[in-house]
């Protein structure tokens, strides 16, 4: 019988998608900080 491992699947995909979105946000924040430094 196939085991129910759906919760682990959701956790696995969540980790990857949160990581991708987190890195994207870090690029946005650093870009914003560079713009701020450039204006000074």
């Amino acid at each position: 019988m196939t085991p129910d491992t759906t919760a682990y699947m959701i956790a696995g995909f969540s980790v990857i998608l949160i990581g991708v979105i987190g890195y994207m946000l870090s690029l946005v924040v650093r870009n914003w900080m560079i713009n701020h430094r450039q204006r000074k």
């Binding site: 682990y8 991708v20 450039q38």
Partner: protein, 242 residues
């Protein structure tokens, strides 16, 4: 400010961003809906599509980093140092995602979150070595010396990449060997159906686009940072001379 800091947002990069986002959404649909459920492991096997794609993206970053590091040592162009850093930073993020998602996949299949299996161990060492690269950069103030040391370190550190990739073929391991491995009772190997293979290949494609978009953004950011630091350094030197 010079030309690069004034450059407008490239339209090609915007197109790449949109393509990457759409491809990622399609890859997610293929992984969750299109590909059939694996009978032995159940739904957790679907993590495989993004887990391997993350590893691929990470290794792409390290590969670009070693190429740009060699090019830097040959030419001395500081832009190549920025390119190397961009590759390693993205590589670190994606190999970390690969290791964590692999650990989640392992829990119901191997009955443990972590084991010192050759593949897991080499991947962990690779992650630590590249994390140390970032620490090394923070420790050296002179930009030229920092770039030279970082390039040498990136080239030596790259040894861990093929070692990690080949570890499942060189050593005895419980990690699945999907291509060329044998699916048997008690192993976590599995045979891919054609729909699974399509979902897998599309995930690789989507993550490659995502990598290209991230790399381009990180490169632009690094080049702007480099220019602003040079201007600030020049300003400080002028003030000291006065």
């Amino acid at each position: 400010m010079d030309s690069i800091t004034k450059k407008p947002f490239p339209r090609a990069l915007l197109v790449l961003d949109i393509l990457a986002a759409v491809s990622l959404a399609v890859a997610l649909w293929m992984a969750l809906v299109y590909a059939p459920r694996e009978l032995v492991m159940g739904d957790v096997q679907r993590v495989f599509y993004f887990h391997v794609a993350s590893a691929w993206t990470g290794m792409l970053g390290y590969l670009l980093a070693v190429i740009t590091s060699i090019a830097f040592l040959r030419t001395g162009k500081m832009n190549l140092d920025v390119a190397s850093l961009a590759g390693i930073e993205i590589g670190l993020v994606f190999t970390a995602l690969c290791v964590i998602s692999g650990s989640i996949w392992a829990r119901p299949i191997w009955n443990t979150w972590w084991t010192w299996d050759p593949r897991l161990t080499t991947a962990f060492i690779m992650e630590l070595i590249y994390a140390a690269y970032l620490l090394l950069r923070r420790g050296v103030e002179d930009p030229a010396q920092r770039a030279r040391l970082s390039a040498v370190y990136a080239i030596i550190g790259f040894i861990t990449v093929p070692l990690t990739f080949l570890s499942i073929r060189i050593f005895r391991t419980i990690h699945p060997v999907i291509f060329g491995g044998e699916a048997s009772v008690g192993s976590s190997n599995f045979v891919m159906s054609s729909q699974m293979l399509q979902a897998f290949l599309f995930s690789l494609f989507a993550f490659t686009l995502l990598f290209a978009a991230f790399y381009w953004h990180r490169l632009r950011l690094g080049l702007r940072q480099q220019q602003i630091e040079a201007i600030e350094l020049q300003r400080r030197q002028d003030e000291e001379e006065e």
